[in-house]
Symmetry: C2
Subunit: 307 residues, 2 copies
């Protein structure tokens, strides 16, 4: 039997990268040959965590060898997965997102739980399998929880996530708040990003009632520093809309200190953003008060508006 | 909060009915208001189990109230579920089949494991939640394992299923082999079935690479007693093909004593049956040696042939 490839979604974030690393570690401890891989560049926030805990990033891949055994972590929708996912043999899914656009020929181990972070499920799996969590793995997993929950402030964050974060921070030997803020700030440093990078660095595509929707999100300490470039951002977004034939592109700039988001919407279905959040777009923009979670606050409301 | 409806697939079999009953029992024990319901008639095999353990069948429903919380057991594909599944709020899925044609707006608890029977997963969940399995529930769960595994003989049957079956039989106070054979024979009594019933009593529809495929399976002690009616069966099958615009209807009669199946294939894509099982249809029929499992042996091979 060959090795099993473990990977998260395209445009990898901290949960995706660390979930691949941690689950491959757990599998190896259990005697299964597994390699963590990634489908895109490591972002600054993730790099901060990897550097802090001195862990090497997973290998970058574009495709998996045909008929490989693969495990998807932190995603299940095929459009977010490896290009040739339909040629792979999916043996497991460990995720915390909605389930959609996923299909296998055969039964598999499919574990999705409505928690804030894949890391929280993986932490449980270490325990279920009686494998000790090392300092490094704990550091990676707590980084993922901090990232996905904006330091436990997102509405996606459950009691289980909170408890896991505290326990993992202790094993990792870090102060949760201090380490968390340092890591988020490292990720929110957008100073060297081009406009094209800003709108693609954490972008995900969704199908909503037959429409193609892309939602990009960046975290910022100062949202104005990003939005001052509106004109150039719109030019890039319109290029993407045309290239991918999108019905809507929603660009969300989340203020990590105040926990609000500024949204910029383009595309022929942009009125659905107004419907979804009960706001009026002015100059293609609106403030989304208290909105920080793409999954729980943006995708759900927008999917409803597309019905 | 209203109650949660728990149900298995259309054309309910023993695993589907007992999974709804057992999981509703577990949920109630855990303080969640849940009602087991069913989407079709109780078959003779299931009725045997219900009578033996003196358990009342779940209530029959056609639709769930709009926006109800629902839990799907023993299935996940929407075409096998309640008619208005898209108007429901799916909070959990507990299943052991492939995952396909399933979609939610929001994250949920989705647990699929590659074991032979939903009952095996439920047995584990009782343990995980520290809830004792009653004699009645054990009887229902072991009946489901016997049914889905043809008394532990199907290739879908895993070591976990075998162990669960023995443990549950003990709690239920039955001799596994004797009770199992009695139950299977009760289910294989087809003497009072019309042709229309035979081809629909355990039929499931699948989408395979854009084609509509329906696979019906019946268990028999004497396959010839069924197949002697080929002409009338074909008339009924052709009506179904026309009515549902199917590309293929595969009728499988499984010999529960010898563990082979006789297949009858109709529809414009019937050559895919020859491809899938490396057989030649004669008079629309072929013997499928050693084939007893729709899920593991029929659906997988046929899906491959449709590629």
């Amino acid at each position: 039997m060959g090795k099993t490839f473990i990977f998260g979604h395209k445009n990898p974030d901290t949960d995706t990268i660390t979930a691949a690393l941690a689950y491959a570690h757990l599998k190896n401890e259990l005697g299964v040959k597994a390699e963590p891989v990634r489908l895109g560049a490591v972002n600054k926030e993730t790099q901060f965590a990897l550097d802090y805990f001195n862990v090497k990033e997973p290998r970058l891949i574009v495709e998996v060898p045909e008929n490989s055994d693969v495990i998807l972590v932190d995603h299940n929708e095929f459009q977010q997965s490896v290009e040739n996912i339909k040629e792979a043999h999916i043996v497991e899914v460990i995720d915390h997102h909605r389930v959609a656009n996923f299909e296998t020929k055969e039964p598999l181990y499919f574990r999705v739980e409505p928690v804030g972070c894949t890391a929280t499920i993986l932490k449980k799996m270490y325990k279920e399998n009686d494998v000790a969590i090392t300092k490094e793995i704990a550091g990676l997993l707590v980084s993922a929880i901090i990232s996905d929950s904006l330091l436990l402030k997102s509405p996606t964050c459950t009691q289980e996530d909170v408890e896991a974060a505290h326990e993992l921070a202790e094993i990792a030997g870090v102060d949760l708040d201090q380490y968390g803020l340092d890591m988020l700030k490292a990720g929110a440093d957008l100073s060297d990003k081009s406009m094209a990078e800003l709108i693609s660095m954490d972008a995900k595509e969704f199908e909503m009632n037959g429409s193609k929707v892309e939602i990009a999100q960046v975290n910022a300490v100062d949202t104005n520093a990003v939005l001052v470039h509106q004109e150039e951002l719109e030019t890039e977004i319109n290029k993407t809309i045309e290239g991918k034939n999108l019905d809507l592109f929603l660009f969300v700039v989340t203020d990590i200190l105040n926990n609000d988001s500024e949204a910029m919407a383009l595309g022929k279905a942009k009125e659905n953003v107004e419907k979804a959040f009960n706001v009026t777009l002015e100059n293609n923009r609106a403030l989304l008060k208290g909105v920080v979670s793409r999954k729980k606050q943006i995708v759900t409301n927008l999917t409803e508006a597309f019905k």
